[in-house]
């Protein structure tokens, strides 16, 4: 690993260590709905929105109302995106005169963005007009992230309130998430990115003469001309990362030089992705008035994230043995960054790419800067496994927190029994109805992923999209559905996704993975908020100790490991052991 590689990894960790408490404290104030920093600026804006939308910011909602508000809001937004994409050819903001987006692709894309997945079965620069990008896609990058944050705020309130019915107001939570967190941070970072060379304009595609053509004085040779699309990229790059969306302006996403020009922007983008999910762990501790509880959540998130880094970064930096056998040196020299460079951009090298792969999948972002398909089998299995963990290390904006808290409840249940008490978390007894909802939450994702992947492997129309035979091809399919159902959106690559089968089934996976996770999560919040809080004594299971954190990590790893082991064994593991890696 080069010095730059180490610098990238370390600076990401340092930046997160700084932002987590700052942002965490700030978000706790935002969701406490009391006086918060910046009220003088934000309150008038929010009050204006409340007045126009006839929202009473003081009224609170029960979980069902909260859920219905969220579903209606998401559906309306999704419908709007579908419409914009279907008629973009007749709308302004289309300097390259791109045609309307086809039905199946519009459907898939609308679902993809409204569910915070940002799976892209299209190439942005050649499919989406600038208006579609802004109105259809960036819009969702804000609100789908805000929805996740609102849900996390509601879930935290459910844990800290007792004998109440309401979880907060969905509209207020969503609006405050946008005005106070997402908008200001992405605004600042969009400008930072512009300073680093990310483009932000409304130009049509420009034809430029490449350096090679100038050097050889063959400027009229069309082969040496390059088409460079314009567009409002910097703004999208910021919210794409901050909201854990991952849908890039360009097809190459974070590998595109005009979207992610340097290792500096690379690290800043990764920081943005992990900023809110880690911050929410801190927010939880502040709101629950127990930083030790936050310590358990953050500890599990951090530890598992670091373990994934420890696997993928050295593996990719070490290179691919098959390339070595072919007589190509992958050693690190002054002229060569070294490592497994197939499918990776030289700006980031093997380590900078692997760092991205782990972070975009540990968070629910999915904005790739390299081809994961070209990773070593285990190196490629790490991002896959990160998603399989349920997007909890640290996961998406808000969704990561409540996802992990549901794992915590399952750990509490088993550990609680083992200490001889009815299991309790933060003083609330965990009973059969809660376990039922937690079980549904845990069950939906593997059921969706495994069933759809199994069918796609057997149905010829679907398996035709696989580009590689053998275990690697199986991984392509499993990865696609895992990414879709977990609302990650990263692509393994290789699989031709823009077919009717994949457009539809991936959309189903994304929809199921979003809605059938949110319903049990909110219902669980509704059940928790009604419970009374029991006193904690020395006979109560302590849920704020390192021992319990180990238990939570164990539950996550064992549950997920047991679920996906057969799929992983026939995919990456078979490839690794049988493929001479």
């Amino acid at each position: 690993m080069t010095v730059t590689d180490w610098l990238e990894v370390l600076s990401l960790l340092v930046l997160l260590a700084i932002s987590t408490p700052l942002l965490g404290n700030y978000m706790a104030r935002v969701y406490a709905n009391g006086p918060a920093p910046g009220d003088r600026v934000f309150l008038p804006v929010e009050n204006f929105v409340y007045r126009i939308c006839r929202i009473d910011p003081k009224s609170e909602q029960r979980w069902r109302t909260y859920l219905v508000s969220m579903l209606v809001w998401t559906l309306v937004g999704g419908l709007l995106t579908y419409l914009v994409l279907r008629v973009q050819g007749s709308l302004p903001g289309n300097p390259d005169h791109l045609p309307n987006v086809p039905e199946a692709l519009s459907f898939n894309t609308a679902i993809s963005f409204m569910t915070n997945t940002n799976w892209q079965n299209y190439a942005g620069e050649s499919t989406m007009s600038q208006l579609s990008q802004m109105l259809g896609l960036v819009w969702h990058q804000f609100i789908s992230a805000a929805v996740g944050m609102a849900l996390a705020a509601a879930f935290i309130r459910a844990l800290i309130r007792q004998r109440q019915n309401t979880l907060g107001n969905f509209w207020v939570d969503t609006i405050r998430s946008s005005t106070r967190i997402l908008l200001p941070i992405s605004f600042v970072f969009a400008i930072v990115f512009m300073s680093q060379g990310v483009i932000e304009n409304f130009n049509s595609t420009t034809s430029v003469t490449t350096v090679a053509a100038q050097a050889t004085h063959q400027t009229s040779n069309p082969a040496l001309q390059q088409q460079v699309p314009g567009g409002p990229v910097a703004g999208m790059a910021a919210i794409e990362a901050l909201g854990d969306n991952g849908g890039g302006y360009f097809n190459a996403n974070y590998a595109a030089p005009n979207e992610n020009p340097s290792p500096v922007t690379n690290v800043l983008l990764l920081w943005l992705m992990a900023m809110i999910p880690f911050g929410f762990g801190w927010t939880f501790g502040r709101m629950a008035r127990s930083m030790r509880q936050a310590g358990v959540v953050l500890g599990v998130m951090t530890a598992l994230f670091l373990v994934s880094l420890a696997f993928v970064v050295p593996l990719e930096a070490a290179g691919n043995p098959h390339i070595t056998t072919a007589g190509v040196s992958q050693a690190e020299t002054a002229a060569n960054v070294g490592g497994n460079l197939e499918g990776k951009d030289l700006r980031f090298g093997a380590a900078g790419s692997a760092l991205n792969a782990a972070t975009i999948t540990g968070t629910s972002t999915g904005g790739v800067n390299s081809a994961i398909e070209s990773y070593t089998p285990i190196g490629g299995a790490v991002p896959l496994f990160n998603m399989m963990l349920g997007e909890v290390i640290p996961g998406g904006t808000g969704t990561g927190l409540y996802g992990l808290l549901i794992f915590v409840l399952i750990a509490v249940f088993i550990a609680g029994l083992m200490v001889g008490r009815t299991p309790m978390y933060l003083g609330k007894q965990i009973l059969a109805s809660d376990m039922k909802l937690a079980a549904i939450y845990i069950l939906v994702l593997p059921a969706t992923v495994l069933v759809l992947a199994a069918i796609s492997i057997l149905v010829p129309a679907a398996s035709a999209s696989i580009s590689t035979s053998g275990p690697h091809g199986l991984t392509e399919v499993v990865y696609a559905y895992t990414s879709a159902a977990h609302n990650n959106g990263s692509a393994f690559g290789g699989l031709s996704g823009n077919t009717t089968w994949y457009n539809v089934t991936l959309a189903i996976a994304m929809w199921a993975g979003r809605v059938f996770e949110i319903i049990p999560a909110l219902a669980l919040a509704g059940s928790l908020v009604r419970k009374r809080t029991y006193a904690v004594t020395s006979g109560t299971l302590r849920t704020d100790t390192p021992l319990f954190a180990v238990m939570v990590a164990g539950v996550v790893l064992i549950l997920v490991g047991l679920t996906y082991f057969p799929a992983l064994a026939t995919g990456p593991l078979a490839e690794h052991f049988s493929g001479g890696f």
Binding site: I410, F413, T537, L541
Partner: protein, 700 residues
């Protein structure tokens, strides 16, 4: 009862050094031959699908066993002999898995039935003498009685049903219920009116008003509970079943989709192997033992002679965080007893002891007897004869008692009363008397001043004696995270002294029943789960309000209805045992769940490489055990999966041992034993099975 009432089972003249009250335990040996034989037969009877459906996880194994049996029989004709040996053994052990699970239930139920059998003997039909409103008697079988009927029960007769004594008083032999051979007094009115059907009247004649219908009496309920017949799933058990069923569902999906992935890889699996994989992954160990653990928990309550109205009550007992303990009967013996003789300066201690003894020989109160006992034990004084002595009874006016013998008068009593008596007789009250009396009163004891003639000899220290071992129990409770609150009608001074000696965390002095209710509400509002004991009718509201209310069997019917546990020995100290039984129930479930799930890791390591051996032999690296061959690997894992149920039956029936320790320490300990142990055990046992059994069999 009133806060200060004493239990009638307290034998007179308890010695302070006597140990905690004897507890009758109906323990049954874990493996009794007759129970095992019956359980083996029952394991087959329980293959009835309607019975199997009650255990969802084992039901899946059951369906899998039937399915694979059919497939095995269908294919046996045209399969190779080696394959038939392998698949036949797998199918056989799938059946064993089901049978072992049934055996666990049958064992738990068998042990319950053995207990019930002894109870049932007492439930023989008796003839009741029904008292008609006009005063005439008519005979009627006890099974035909209805609530409100009044029956006359005479000496030697069995009481026909549960009820209250409404007329008369009798000695009743309740040994069939409590196991305690000493008869108890039952009388109309007050707190000792409840009688239990099947118990026998030893003296006098009482009229009993029936309070529960035939078939719903105490005895019936108890029999039903120990047999597991009326057992309903407890809240916790239901939650655990949800978790286990969901896990199983995940594994069903994982195994079914694995077939697709395997087929894609060119390693299509036989159904028998897939079913075997599912059974390996499903949490069969805990699934098999879950109801046995519940029955055994109920059983342990009955062994402690506590009757739970529901399994829920047993579980709630484990959750208790505050114990409200009546001082009298629970913490202290309830009687003031002489602990020492304190002579005044210049008086011989032996002389004081002799005078005290003489004054108390005829005193039949517990205090009087304790003075006699102390004098005899410490000074080895012979019991004096009382020829020609005249006894002076205690009266409320004189507040003294004593004896006039051979011209000398001896008195003992309250300090001021005795002082006045001495002064009247021309004697003087010594200066030092107050120095002796004061500290005793301050420490919560009662000073009895003894005078002979006109001379004050000294003071007898009477003290409410804390039961030995109570302080240790309280310390244990504290370790379990339970706060103890002593409730007493005593003044704050006395209460404080006893509280300090007993080691309780808090005390309530001069408490009325209303105070007790308020305290329960306050505790609950603060988020604590409260357990308390009670036996009187005025305890009923508090018993009903408390999260766990333990009614004494000697108590009134109202109290027994209000509580959710009834202590047949009427020993309030047992509240602490009840808490432990409740905890044990949950710990056993948690431990076996953890063990079961952790086992899966090893089973995966064994099964998956074996199943993919044909196409990815290199995956064998994962199989760190290096078993003989793929078939022996799968078979060894299946055999392990079945016999581990048998290994765990004793643990399920006995329960995990509970030591007094904090929650974190207990979690660490159990995670090490059942978590890490659960990860490692199958590796060892599967390897052994492969080495010793399957290998030599030549399965390949």
């Amino acid at each position: 009862m009133s806060v200060e009432a004493s239990t009638i089972s307290t034998p007179p003249a308890l010695r302070p050094d006597e140990h905690l009250p004897h507890r009758h335990e109906r323990s049954i040996k874990l493996f009794r031959r007759d129970i095992i034989v019956k359980a083996i037969a029952d394991s087959f009877v329980k293959l009835d699908p309607r019975v199997m459906l009650r255990k969802p996880i084992i039901f899946i194994v059951y369906v899998g066993s039937i399915w694979t049996t059919v497939l095995f029989l269908r294919d046996a004709w045209h399969s190779s002999a080696t394959y038939n040996i392998f698949s036949g053994l797998v199918v056989l052990f799938l059946w064993f898995t089901v049978l072992f699970a049934n055996f666990a239930d049958a064992m738990a139920e068998g042990r319950g039935k053995a207990q019930a059998a002894s109870l049932r003997k007492t439930r023989q039909e008796t003839v009741a003498h029904l008292l008609r409103p006009d005063g005439t008697l008519v005979d009627r079988p006890s099974t035909k009685l209805s609530i409100g009927d009044r029956c006359v029960v005479a000496v030697g007769e069995a009481i026909p049903g549960d009820g209250d004594v409404v007329e008369g008083m009798a000695l009743v032999d309740e040994s069939t219920i409590t196991g305690e051979s000493a008869p108890v007094i039952r009388e109309s009115g007050g707190d000792r009116s409840a009688v239990t059907g099947g118990t026998r009247v030893l003296s006098d004649r009482i009229v009993v008003q029936i309070t529960s219908a035939a078939g719903e009496t105490f005895l019936d309920r108890m029999i039903g509970l120990v047999e597991g017949a009326v057992r309903q799933k407890t809240p916790n058990e239901r939650a655990l079943t949800v978790v286990l069923a969901s896990l199983t569902l995940i594994f069903v999906i994982a195994v079914a989709t694995f077939q697709a992935f395997a087929t894609y890889s060119g390693a299509h699996q036989s159904i028998i192997v897939l079913v075997a994989l599912l059974v390996l992954l499903a949490p069969t160990t805990i699934g098999a033992l879950l109801s046995a653990i519940g029955i055994a928990g109920m059983d342990r309550m009955v062994q402690h002679n506590v009757l739970a109205t529901s399994g829920r009550a047993v579980e709630a007992a484990g959750d208790v965080t505050t114990l409200l303990l009546d001082k009298t009967g629970t913490i202290t013996y309830g009687n003031r007893m002489a602990t020492e003789f304190l002579p005044l300066p210049g008086v011989d201690e032996a002389r004081l002891a002799r005078a005290a003894l003489l004054s108390s020989v005829a005193d039949s109160t517990p205090e009087g007897r304790s003075i006699v006992a102390l004098a005899e034990r410490r000074y080895h004084l012979p019991t004096p004869t009382l020829d020609g002595a005249e006894l002076v009874e205690f009266t409320a006016q004189t507040r003294m008692s004593g004896i006039d013998r051979n011209g000398t008068s001896i008195r003992k009593g309250a300090s001021d009363a005795v002082s006045r008596w001495v002064t009247q007789r021309g004697g003087g009250v010594p200066q030092g008397l107050d120095d002796v009396v004061e500290p005793i009163a301050r420490s919560g004891g009662t000073p009895l001043v003894v005078a002979e003639g006109s001379e004050v000899l000294g003071v007898i220290h009477l003290k409410d004696t804390v039961k030995p071992g109570i302080a240790t129990r309280m310390a244990e409770m504290r370790k379990l995270g339970i706060r103890t609150v002593m409730i007493t009608g005593d003044n704050p001074l006395t209460a404080a002294a006893i509280a300090a000696e007993a080691g309780v965390d808090e005390y309530m002095a001069e408490a009325t029943p209303e105070d007790k209710m308020r305290r329960i509400r306050d505790e609950q509002a603060g988020g604590y789960l409260v357990a308390m004991t009670g036996d009187g009718t005025n305890d009923a509201p508090a018993l009903a309000l408390a999260d766990v209310g333990v009614a004494m069997n000697t108590g009134t019917q109202a109290a027994k209805e209000a509580g959710n546990l009834v202590d047949l020995d009427s020993d309030p100290t047992k509240l602490m045992d009840i808490v432990e039984v409740g905890k044990q129930l949950l710990v056993t479930r948690g431990a076996l769940t953890t063990f079961s799930i952790c086992n899966d890791v090893a089973k995966y390591f064994v099964a998956i490489p074996a199943m993919l051996n044909g196409v990815f032999p290199a995956l064998g690296v994962i199989d760190i055990l290096h078993l003989h061959n793929p078939h022996s690997a799968i078979l060894s894992a299946v055999i392990f999966n079945a016999i581990i149920i048998m290994f765990m039956i004793p643990l399920a029936l006995r329960g995990v041992k509970i030591k007094a320790m904090g929650a974190t320490a207990r979690l660490r300990q159990n995670l090490l034993i059942y978590g890490v142990g659960g990860l490692l055990t199958p590796f060892v046992l599967i390897k052994l099975i492969d080495l010793l059994v399957v290998g030599p069999l030549g399965v390949h």
